[in-house]
Symmetry: D2
Subunit: 390 residues, 4 copies
């Protein structure tokens, strides 16, 4: 069985999630398309890299990601860093002939994403962006129902991604609030996942029209580099810095198909933790999904008997997408891990089969164009066509 | 105790709901501000009027609403007809010095609504528009929490009103699909309720930006005049007529306060029956309401202990708005009736006290302006300020 | 159209609910089987009776219920008093040849219920017990699915009726805590409704095995006679009296059919307001109902496609039991009122048609036998056959 | 950092779950108490063992579990086999001085469990039973609230464990339906988890009173040894064998504290997949948990303001038990994996610290006594004291 040596860049919570997938994917999907080997990890200095190596079970540690990228033992580069270095790393990895899995959003801007896309296409390597939420089995079941025509032609899509960790003004000014590092705020950080699902389930965006808001214009400067997603609070006399990204975006969509939609996303919604939802109305049925209750998909079929029509709550299991590999009965429990295990499986399969995988860097680029269009629309306060964004 | 003689125009399902309220309001709120007396009812002909009289418990029947309006015994005119005759009836009633309760939407257009408002103001009568859903105790509880500052400054509002009775193309072309009768489609019929709640809970709209869609452009011509909300289907060879109103609206909002919002409304959402929802994010908390589960309000307070923060599901009862008058324990059951009983109570109280009531014809007019702006925005595909609408 | 003159005994919250039904039933079900006329009301003294007359819209008031029962104008006696006087009143009414609607539980004991049953049978009058919750359209839909065989042979039933108004030890010692007035505590007050549903949906009980608990053995003696269901608290120095009924019952059931079941009921469950639920497992499907969300029935059909199997949430409306008469679309709102309106309709119909109605005094008697068996089992700590109770 | 060499006996779905935990626990809890090393795996023959070794990432494979148990390199024996061999394996492992993690139920009978307990106590090794569901963070949060007195003295507990995979009579006669292998049916297989939670959260059982049912008395004999939990159906002419275990148990509980309770468990409940729920009523609050929505705990506090009292839906995250190690925000996703990762962490910690761990073999034995009492009660149809079971 083929082994693929993975080089991971970054050591935070995403590094944990990806490493878990490398360590366990073959336990779920056997025979595995390939056995991922946790070969080496790089972090911003050697000390952190060695810590990550020990903690996450890698063989080697690098204090400089360039050395990792050029390590001839490495087959795959996995980028789990803040957004501003994705492009440089991915382009270098492509030049070194490595297959690449890159965390989302692919880049800070469409322009940057396009350079990355050009690089991987020129290099002929396999590339993927880690929009893992669409790999929740319930989302894949929605895709299946749509593809089979079971809810008919789609009329509308309404999505949300709501969190609350930045609602507190005492939450520190981490990199996620800085445009030069993150590119955008809630938009690229979380709304991008819903954009990915909307494209996947409904189709291409024709244009968007957005409200973009920064509710908390400055925040206490963060003391450490660790990204705690708001769990560490600052004292009152901490110096403050400017937030130059969006806290909230709310936008309408014209899809190319004629369907319409809307997406709302904020990290300031008290009580919403990881509230990724979508509702889709089709001519023959409706679908509702809420990631906070991710074992479930709700679907209503128009042709049900009139006395028994209503949303069904389907718990995904062996009879549903990826069900053969995951757990033997529904509701045993799909967690964050499982979305990453499935992602790893599809990525390994794509490398071995050579048939491509979705979402790839082109998807990441298209999503970046939509994000750029959303920001542009927010500034101009008018509809912006995606085709206007390079 | 004062008695007020009510003259009802119309005999459909709304006539039932209002008559129930007149018959039973004092049973709930005692001593009642006044005892409503079901004195007379008018319908499009005398036969129908007599049927309504018997069925709904009125004393007299009129085949011509003008006679009812000019009956000197009548103190209050209650208009529960299709939209296109609201203005003529209300203006005549005002001239006759009657207090007026008018079903929503107040009128087909802002212009028409303004004439009605002018008439009632000139006549000095008490006037009210029947946006009953805001009188659900759970909605009033949301209002109370907001007024008391318990969720802080409001950042955003997201509302829906989804039904599915028109999703079937075989649903007949009732008056609700004709612009000359209804004024608009889902917008005035149902979205107007959510607009009312948004104004009530968040404040005035500054501008809107809308998507407006007619999914089913023609429908079988209806054989009878009865409004069955889609439950009677047509045969295949029924001649068809044009639908010239919206099936769906989806719009964004700038509130004058700086808050933002969105509202989605359609009558083509399979599986959604009377899905009136709103979610409000404030600086200190969040609120969620779903009319399909109308005994409940969900609220999250930011200052809850960190290990016990989450949305509370509060069932409204004696400790909540209107609770003294309604049922003795929560979840005994708030139905459509109760919203109308409370409305009747507030209307009677306003007549006796002379202090005005909300929503009145001015609210109805402001909502009509917003509806006009939504349609205008849908046509122009750009932001439309409410102040642009006369 | 036939008119039936109603004489109501009692003036509390149930008097309100029943009077609402008399005033409005024909608005919903037209042509009505008969028009109920609110003719006279009796209360414990004339002052209270006159207040009830005015508040609830009756024509005459009596300070002595015996006068009402013997009023020759009266066709129907409706008993909405505390439990200890049901028997005396119903037997007198039967002797006077009146049809009788009696609030639940029918009596304090099976023996008392049997006397009432004997009296109405001897008199040949129509009799009904007001177990209104089974008339929720969603419960009637469950009955329909079961009768049509859509969930197959029933294996098990699990019911609850949980409230929290007596959880506070400062709640006063109302008549509901006194055995000589109430007969039993949570058992007769609320669990009896679930017993009624279990008999209605599953069939006769063969035996029960119970836990019976009184958590709060004494309570402050109530100052006024008004039944506020715990909303009025006492001061600390109020003298206390003994609670001699159950706060909670929890029992298992052998049904005659071979099915098994359990019912749990308490008025001390913080956060549960009127939590009447049942779950039924059949060989071909399952049903779940929760009265707190009473517009809905959840049902799962075993023969659904394997990828689309799950509980459906069905909102009852025109396509469901009583739907023709109630509201024109689902989720407009079923409240407590509607359950009583439907009950009134069926009762009037039974009087006119002479075909009997369920639940009648025999049902009330059977339920009283089950309640007696539950208490007996709680004392003996063993299975008690219903047939052992006279 | 200490390394502990694990020897795993068994290769099915539980082997996967445990191996995932060994491979990834240190990624979550760092520094880990010890690094578990997947050293060797045994299965019923060498071929299967080699397959498991490759699939699950072990170093060595044994076709005979006795060789594994006596491998001097092994520190820990992990038993994930069918129930009938737990005792023999665990006793052998104890004699070999290995620490032991054994899947639930610990044994087929209390007698067997007692022998295992005696063996591990005599050997002085660390022992644990894999009742993993209590390690769901939301269940641990319930425990914390109870320990802190936040819901007051507990009055009652109602638990369920419902599945539907055996509802189909065509589901084959796997070992789970055979008394000599499984010991009992739904009781030991799934209800035991709820018994574990009830003991953990409420305290020791004093006595039980049970209904025990076998709904489907015979099933098609299974062709292969693989345990597919009902997903593989048989053809009509497959020979059938007798089911000699329970399909459903339903029992009441006297706790030693004076609290009461009930547990219902079946694998024949269409639409329920892994429906582990409990509701606890205390003098100062209530708790509800549903594993199918396991990121959430619902809790109601009696001392909340009267206008804001209701069940809170708390999503567990960093502020809750095990939150430091798991995911950085709530609702990112707790799955089956996470319950096993936490279990592995606590087990490794117990080995290193020497302070014992819960649930251990004594807990497993106490649960086995309760299971024996439930079966005994079902046969005798009366209350059975746990103290009567040796």
């Amino acid at each position: 069985m083929k082994h693929l040596n993975v080089g991971l860049i970054g050591g935070g919570f995403m590094a944990k999630a990806h490493s878990l997938a490398y360590a366990t994917m073959p336990m779920f999907f056997w025979p595995a398309p390939a056995i991922p080997v946790r070969k080496a990890v790089a972090d911003v200095n050697l000390e952190l890299a060695i810590d990550a190596k020990n903690r996450l079970g890698y063989e080697k540690a690098y204090g400089d990601w360039r050395e990792l990228v050029n390590d001839p033992e490495i087959d795959v580069i996995d980028i789990v860093t803040p957004n501003h270095v994705h492009a440089e790393m991915a382009i270098a990895a492509a030049k070194a002939g490595k297959h690449i899995l890159c965390e989302k959003p692919l880049a800070r801007t469409a322009k940057e994403a396009k350079m990355m896309l050009d690089a991987v296409q020129a290099a002929g390597v396999v590339h993927m962006v880690a929009f893992n939420y669409r790999r929740t089995p319930a989302v894949e079941l929605a895709k299946k129902f749509i593809q089979e025509g079971r809810i008919g032609k789609i009329l509308s899509f309404r999505g949300t991604y709501l969190q609350d960790w930045s609602a507190d003004p005492a939450s520190p000014l981490s990199w996620r609030f800085k445009k030069d590092v993150a590119g955008s705020g809630a938009l690229g950080d979380i709304a991008a996942h819903v954009i990915d699902m909307a494209r996947y389930l409904v189709g291409e965006f024709e244009s968007v029209n957005a409200l973009v808001k920064t509710w908390i214009p400055e925040r206490p400067i963060q003391q450490s580099g660790v990204d705690k997603l708001g769990t560490v609070k600052s004292s009152d006399d901490t110096p403050k810095g400017v937030v130059d990204v969006d806290d909230e975006v709310n936008f309408m969509i014209h899809f190319e198909s004629g369907a319409i939609g809307s997406i709302e996303s904020t990290r300031n919604a008290h009580g919403r933790n990881n509230y990724i939802t979508f509702e889709i109305h089709g001519e023959k049925g409706s679908i509702f999904f809420n990631y906070e209750r991710r074992d479930e998909l709700q679907v209503c079929f128009a042709d049900d008997p009139v006395d028994a029509k209503g949303f069904r709550t389907i718990y995904t299991g062996p009879a549903h997408p990826y069900g053969e590999g995951l757990w033997p009965i529904p509701a045993l429990g799909i967690g964050y891990s499982e979305t990453k295990i499935v992602e790893c499986y599809d990525f390994m399969k794509a490398i071995v089969d050579g048939n491509g995988v979705s979402p790839d860097f082109n998807d990441g680029y298209q999503i970046a164009r939509i994000c750029d269009a959303v920001l542009e629309s927010g500034t101009r306060q008018e509809w912006v066509k995606i085709s206007w964004i390079e």
